[in-house]
Amino acid sequence: MAVTTMIGARIQRREDPKLITGHGNFIDDVNLVNMAHMSIVRSPHAHARIRSVDTSAARAATGVVAVLTAADFKSVILGPLPVSNSFVADKKQVPEQFPIAADEVAYAGEPVAVVVAEDRYLADDAAQLVVVDYEPLPAVMDIEKAMEPGSPLVKSDRPDNIGWDAPFPAGDIDAVFAEAEIVIKQRIGQQRLFPTPMETRGCVADYVPYDNRVTLWTSTQVPHFVRLFVGGALGVPESQFRVVSHDVGGGFGSKIRPYPEEYLATAASKITERPVKWIEDRTESLQATTHGRGQIFDAEVAANRDGTLLGLKFTQLLDIGAYHGVFSAFQVVACLLGGGCYNWKAINARSIGVFTNRMSTDPYRGAGRPEATHLVERMVDLVAAEIGMDPAEVRRKNFVTTFPHTNNFGLVYDSGDYAKSLDRAMANIDYAGLRKRQADLRAQGRYTGIGFSTYVEICGLGPSAATAPAAGVALVESSMVRVHPTGSVTVSVGTHSHGQSHETTFAQITADALGVPYDSVEIHHGDTGDTPFGYGTYGSRSLAVGGMAIMASCHKVVEKAKKLAAHAFEASEDDIVVDQGRYFVRGNPAESKALAELAFASYGAGLPEGMEHGLEAVSYFDPPNFVWPFGCHICAVEVDVETGAVTIDRYVAVDDCGNVINPMVVDGQLHGGIAQGISQALFEEVQYDDETGQMLNGTMLDYLIPTMAEMPRFELDRTVTPSPTNELGVKGIGEAGTIASSIAVINAITDALSPFGIKHVEMPARPDRLWSMIKEARA
């Protein structure tokens, strides 16, 4: 019998035909009859008291349907935005954020008024006519000054600017540092970043007054979350609130929260009795869509001169922004992963979340793990440089080698082979040859460098046993698998793709699990009207958790199909063999039935006694553990010491995400992930004025998103170490590239500049920064 395994096959994406011909259905493509357009008046101040809002001129403007302020929304939006903060058990402050400011604004871009008009041009025109009288207040921008007693407050009703302060001790850190031969201190920054999905946010809200029903189209990673919270705040039960998210033009973590505008558009639709559309422009997006990173790490490493790592101490100072993002506290995970893929006697971490008058930070691709990798890989390189040992050898000497491995904080690494990916990456880049070339070029006055990043990440969020106490939510995932009478299959899931290719890869899994043709499987997601409740797509969880939920439903379908086959063949269920979707009695494969035939029978007459009609199943999957992808990235750069410009000569990556469903998709995820890490290392940084809190680079003209010319070729390879914690043996790959790459680049630059006595380079390593450092070192 021919093997028709879809899992592991490089098949082209079924998402693509519509997208390459202009027939995608993104949020701005949704148009309803009688639809009005919403424009938002936002605070130009980082911090100010609102004395008054005069809407009279705007109300009188052409085409205006309504001009609304906080007072108008008060009776319609009954609750604040959600925050998941129980991740932090210790001191914490959780101020509520309402979707629109009433009397005090706390970041530039906070909504103050809403204009609804006949078209977007008229809405924007009228928004200019809303007059807000502000009394500017001091902007709190520096996270260290904000922590000081007596600092001005981010908002006047708060006791201080501390969002959380949580210690994470593991082991006797003082004893370990006391016995160490060397101790090295380093401050390491993680600048703020714009996630910058190419499609900005937007939504279309349609409130039907007669029966209190809402349909909300929105560009989100989490349609069920949006329904839960926006519906809750507006007093509409889930059964009457449908959230639809068709094609989503990227998210990278910035679309995992219910946002103020989703509440405002829905409420505005209720008030005006019109469908209301809001499409974010790019400057709004940069101001008012969550940012990533925004952290400072003060770290100390203890080691011996033979390269043995002993202990790590660090404090994470995290710029929360004015309000918590929904998962801002998740980024504390950097503390728990700060040890990376090495053995340590003790780690002592502390996370302090600090409010500032900026937009909220929330998870951005990697969310805490890129920061952890950057931290530990930087510190390991500092040790290597101090003791004069090859950075690869320091890593190899300290790798965790036995699995499952319980790290210092009790997290269990499922499987891995860190030396294998290191060896393969070194072979692929010809490490010895590269070092020789480096020496040759240095003799000619050229400065090249080689940077390592050996990483492990936590994915597949997450087991309810861990996530419920930590984050207040059980991050399980759901599926419904329905086999129709003539054998086609609908799979509905609670996750939601925004570029990850789930329609293709989930169909590959289903085809194999049910033994049906790939083309007969249809994946539904993004519409709460026809999918079971799910927590959405982020944290590299959709395959390891959502994919397993599909497997669970497929198993139930197969079990029922076996009963149907036993009945049809008048045999015992124990004697039914299932092979590639054919059901037959053991020993008699010639007489078999396909799943489609059994499905047809399941909807007909003459079923076994007591059996219900139909062939379908619903499942929720709660993973037994997280999954732990890992790998090794090596970057080779040249720095032009006269200009400070960095050229990436080679970028080699060996990643291990366990079993692979579709290698083409996995490689694509890595390309994009690596690009975002490189971009953080070299280019990107959200800049605010330190005094006024004004955003200084709030357009794509000013914020550097790299073009094709700035990106190197990616030389990818992989090892395959299946996860033992799920049947598919999968881990996750959406964030791995970003988690690994920023530090590979920075370590390479630092290596290149080591002849100048430069030991550490901050991000972004822009030419001006490097040029100044080189100039200073030469002086």
Binding site: T21, G22, D29, G249, R282, G673, R713
Partner: protein, 173 residues
Amino acid sequence: MPQQVALTINGRRREDYVEPRLLLVHYLREVAGLTGTHIACDTSQCGACTVLVDGEAVKSCSVFTVQADGKRVTTIEGLAEDGTLHPVQQAFWNEHGLQCGFCTPGFIMAAAYLLQQNPSPTDEEIERGLEGNLCRCTGYENIRKAVRSASAAMSGMAESRDLVGSVAAPVED
């Protein structure tokens, strides 16, 4: 005051009255109903709105509709001919040159224009030719591959076809 314009879009002529300030991209999306052309930056960096005006790649967010009066416009919806994908479209599909797909129409239009101008570009010429387009998903690796692969596919064709039936002849003033 609305002004009358007449454009030929994907080979079909239409006449409309539009406000002078209406951007071409909004006209295409909201008046002509062709939503394949996207808006992503508002400041002409990203190229998601790239269309062809009289055969030349143009960012339609930086053109008023009235400036396109009398011209021929090709959008992503008009690139495939008789149900056959343009080689650049096919190559983006084959090479996984897209993930979320939002920047893709602009990239495909810009790449199709590039290959019409320069059927066998070097990697550097591809990078220069597409420097006006931004993608946040792919790291550009597979976009570069797709353009190379489209170039190879097109060089195998007897005659490089026009981007649209209507592009070849320059517009008479």
